[in-house]
Amino acid sequence: MSATIREVRDAIRSGTRSAADVCSDALARIEQANPSLNAFNTVVADRAMARAREIDKDPDRWRSAPLAGVPVALKDNLCTRGVRTTASSRMLEHYVPPYDATVVARLEDAGAVIVGKTNCDEFAMGSSNENSAFGPVRNPWALDRIPGGTSGGSAAAVAAGLTPVALGSDTGGSIRQPAALCGVVGLKPTYGRVSRYGLIAHASSLDQIGPLARTVHDVAVTLGVLAGPDPADATSAAEPVPDYTAALTGDVRDIRIGVPRALLEGIDAEVARATDAALETLRSRGATLVDVDLPHARYATPVYYLVSTAEASSNLARYDGVRYGFRAKDDGPNPKDRGLRGMYARTRAQGFGPEVKRRIMLGTYVLSAGYYDAYYLKAQRARTLILRDYDRAFEQVDVVAMPTSPTPAVRIGERVSNPVQMYLMDVFTVSANLSGLPAISVPCGFTGGSGTAQAGGSPSSDGGLPIGLQLMGRRFDEATLLRIADAYERDTEWPTQPPLPIPSR
């Protein structure tokens, strides 16, 4: 079973284990579990072992590096020089980037051992990880259920103990929602906190990269490695990066937590119960609970789907079969298929999956002449109103708390035919992207109360599914989110291990 970053670092520093031992264990677990989970698109075993041995060879150089010898999984929309990066799309099935994302370079500078690229929804579009061209990821707590999306492979890998930490990206909840549904911690940093250079773009005004891990401490360590300005991303922020682990004091007596009660009506009863219990735990630690009003929050999901699809349709225009990626085979018999434009249209038709096409279509429509003002511009004005709600709330409170997901993990296939039902899973997460605010999901219980699940997950059981509490904070105040989440974590003993061993096929 995979340890935490802290345990791996302690073991390597004290000489009880080498980085190579830690790496080969992680690779063995991936080999055992991946046939059941489908969490990885690509595993780079040789590269990882070579890297781990390099770290073992020079212990002095790596002694104080925060991630030296720690196995890390990367969502497969983060570019890795020389390692296939697919975004879980046929369009990029054989794409090998000629450069590293800034976050990849920073992880490696900190000593991380990258073990592979995790499955996700195609181009990070979805809420369930069912939109991958390489098949759905399965939830380690119940293999018939979704892990959440879009960073589902990263969440499943961490939950199943394959790596202590993984990176995801979050455009409308894609780190936090799978973290909640898989029972791990996930953080979407403030927009601009982490460089997006080398992240395959979905919606550029919403995308952020962030960590998923089993403890708040490990998320804090990883954020410290990732955060900071980058000349290659003009939207990255120059704000100083604090020592996030120093914020983990356990003391929340000065904290005021806003609770948007009106927003929580009609959610799953067990999610409501777990959220209330978590807030009560924080209150008993000395935090103050305050009712807050977010009058425009109910517009957030439709606004998100107008804004994000518009940006996606523009970003995905680059996939034209010319410079890299897939190109459709030679011209068909129909004259309209011939030539450059026919090649574009057939390449995109064959290279993109249904959800990506649906969003390109919607985004193209809302940006088109005659509809731009009514849809796209209107949504951007509504985005301003949503943002102002939070500005007002943060005059009274330090954070706003709500569930991460309105329901626990649903069964694979349950919502896939109804886009609107699928989009409603994002109701609590999209506001943080529209406003650019940081938000964290921390495990706050399980369905069925007892927190135990059947081995391998029982298809007939609704119990034993993880639930996540979400905290949203002020711009660049990740430290307060981490402090509260860590304080809560100290008071809980939620099982952190899914009912492994996962039966290998």
């Binding site: 439709p302 107008l306 096409k357 279509m361 109103l385």
Partner: protein, 104 residues
């Protein structure tokens, strides 16, 4: 859902026109599916139209403190062969991406 302003769904011709703008060669089944689904999504999004946004500035970016412009200095970048290496059809010796004919 709403008594006004509901998009009445899309015709096949409308969907085909949007697909042409997006350079997507959709088949008949996809056109029918998207005609229905885009209508449903926009019907769901119609609630946004109820909002009074008079005088509200649009938000296109939430980037806070932008980094100032970089110094105008030559920085390392990938070379031409590397840039061409991922191309489906590259004329490597000439240093070009090759595409199907554009004219006639």
């Amino acid at each position: 859902m709403l008594a006004f302003g509901m998009p009445a769904g899309f015709t096949r011709d409308q969907i085909a026109a949007i697909a042409a703008l997006a350079h997507l060669d959709l088949d008949a089944a996809e056109i029918d599916l998207f005609a229905r689904q885009l209508g449903e999504i926009l019907e769901y999004a119609e609630v946004v139209q109820q909002l009074d946004t008079a005088g509200v500035q649009p938000t296109s970016s939430v980037a806070g403190s932008h980094l100032s412009d970089r110094a105008d200095e030559v920085q390392p970048s990938i070379d031409r062969d590397e840039a061409l290496a991922g191309a489906p059809d590259a004329a490597v010796d000439a240093g070009f991406f090759r595409v199907p004919r554009v004219l006639g």
